[in-house]
């Protein structure tokens, strides 16, 4: 099949949406794993028909599902996520230390180069790796050695929610944790360094030099420029020119610099997208208008993209993993909402249309561009 395959995780199941390159007519498959929370689905770049899904519930815990036929059939694989050694403790809301406890898998990131390797970002925050297609998992425990005792949960839990792999260097990865911050590895995950210099949250984190404790919401990178990173922080849209060594703010003229996802155009490394949300107290778009903002200058100068999006009485949220970009010649942008809509733009954001309008709350959206 030539076209795109959208992998949509929701509060009550998984959905697979497929279309040809025009992205006008869509086929909807699902719900898969009906009734379960699907925090994330993702496909392998090496073997696009290999998909993974993180399936969980408050009753029955964590399941990992794998498909080797593009989502036609699924099989449960390994679901034992045991922290390495004695798990230790991290900071709790009241400032005391609290034991590390596995809760769920937030994110699955298949390796860009190894067909059987996949990474998992979990809550309580840690990173796991499987080299056998998800059958067994082991923790990359060096991450929690970076002042893990000072990490503290955000409102959504202490989750490792973002994994960015450098396609030019498989040993280099970037991850983000709420509310610990961003971290980088140069050795495939054995050792990690915090990359939070320049992040500023004066009221929540008065120590501007704090290495950890930052509420990073999402990070994006264009594969052609692996040293340039873009970040949506709790407040502030940030940019780094040196692989996270330092950050500077590029929120510019956004109506709000609070938000969750951030994405980079597939063919224009300086074109980035965010969806401003009114505030951390009111998780919906400013003025009830659902607007994606695009910067063609790598930040600071932003334009509102509204054509086809509701411009009155819209009070949905767009979660951090719910935006994706395809690699077709005319770049497609996708996002899902907590109101159950999934929108597509097949012209780099100039115009939008809903693919579906009444799914359960959308937790994540990934897209595969199929040759």
């Amino acid at each position: 099949m030539s076209g795109v395959r959208l992998l949509v995780g929701t509060r009550k199941g998984a959905f697979i949406l497929t279309s040809d390159k025009k992205r006008k007519k869509w086929k909807v498959s699902g719900p898969h794993f009906a009734g379960w929370e699907i925090y994330h689905m993702n496909g392998s770049a090496v073997n696009p028909n290999r998909l993974y899904a993180s399936q969980s519930s408050g009753w029955f815990g964590q399941i990992i599902q794998r498909s080797d036929d593009g989502g036609e059939t699924w099989e449960p694989v390994g679901n034992q996520f045991a922290y390495e050694g004695t798990p230790g403790t991290h900071m709790w809301y009241d400032g005391t230390q609290h034991p590390w406890e596995f809760k769920r898998v937030w994110l699955l990131a298949p390796s860009l180069t190894e067909a059987d390797t996949v990474y998992a970002g979990v809550e309580d925050a840690a990173m796991f790796k499987s080299t056998d297609g998800g059958q067994t998992w082991h923790e990359l425990a060096g991450l929690r050695e970076v002042k893990g005792n000072l990490w503290q949960p955000g409102a959504g839990g202490m989750c490792l929610h973002t994994i960015v792999q450098d396609s030019n260097n498989p040993k280099r990865m970037f991850i983000a944790i709420s509310a610990a911050g961003a971290f980088r590895t140069e050795d495939g995950g054995v050792s990690w360094a915090p990359i939070n210099n320049g992040l500023n949250s004066p009221f929540e984190l008065p120590d501007a030099e704090a290495e950890v404790g930052h509420c990073v919401h999402n990070i994006a990178m264009h594969p052609s420029r692996p040293n340039v990173l873009f970040m949506q922080k709790h407040w502030d849209v940030m940019r780094s020119e040196d692989a996270g060594g330092s950050w500077h703010e590029v929120s510019g003229d956004l109506p709000s610099d609070f938000g969750f996802p951030i994405a980079v155009h597939a063919h224009e490394p300086e074109t980035i997208y965010v969806v401003p949300i009114k505030s951390d107290s009111e998780h919906f778009p400013p003025d009830g208008k659902l607007r994606v903002y695009r910067s063609r200058t790598g930040g600071n100068d932003w334009e509102a993209l509204t054509k086809g999006l509701p411009q009155e009485d819209c009070y949905v949220n767009i979660l951090r993993s719910a935006m994706a970009v395809d690699t077709l010649d005319s770049c497609g942008i996708y996002f899902g909402t907590t109101g159950g809509q999934v929108y597509v733009s097949s012209d780099s954001g100039d115009s939008w249309m809903p693919i579906v309008s009444n799914l359960p709350a959308v937790l994540s959206v990934e897209v595969q561009t199929l040759k």
Partner: protein, 98 residues
């Protein structure tokens, strides 16, 4: 053979009907029933009890012969009626969550 009734979501996960039959090795206790269930249906590992701590999940309960066995020690022997197949051992997803 011991009859076990599974909750809806675990039926789907195990791709079975509402009730399954399992063979228990050794002393028939709550633990050996759950172990036999996990051995017969490996995809259920981690769904009834945590794989690391071994603790029953908070919202999973065990019922048999009209009684709640959830808080009994894992080594508690199961009732004769369950052992003889006259009554099922029920794994129940607790009513909670609104």
């Amino acid at each position: 053979m011991i009859r076990v009734v599974l909750p809806y979501h675990l039926q789907n996960l195990a791709r079975t009907g509402r009730e399954v039959e399992i063979s228990v090795e050794g002393e028939p206790t709550i633990r050996s029933v759950v172990e036999a269930l996990e051995r017969t249906y490996p995809m259920l590992r981690g769904t009834i009890r945590d794989q690391v701590t071994g603790q029953r999940r908070d919202f999973v309960r065990f019922f048999a012969c009209g009684q709640d066995w959830s808080l009994e020690p894992w080594e508690t022997s199961i009732p004769a009626a369950v052992l003889e197949g006259r009554e099922p051992f029920r794994v129940v997803g607790a009513m909670s969550g609104g």
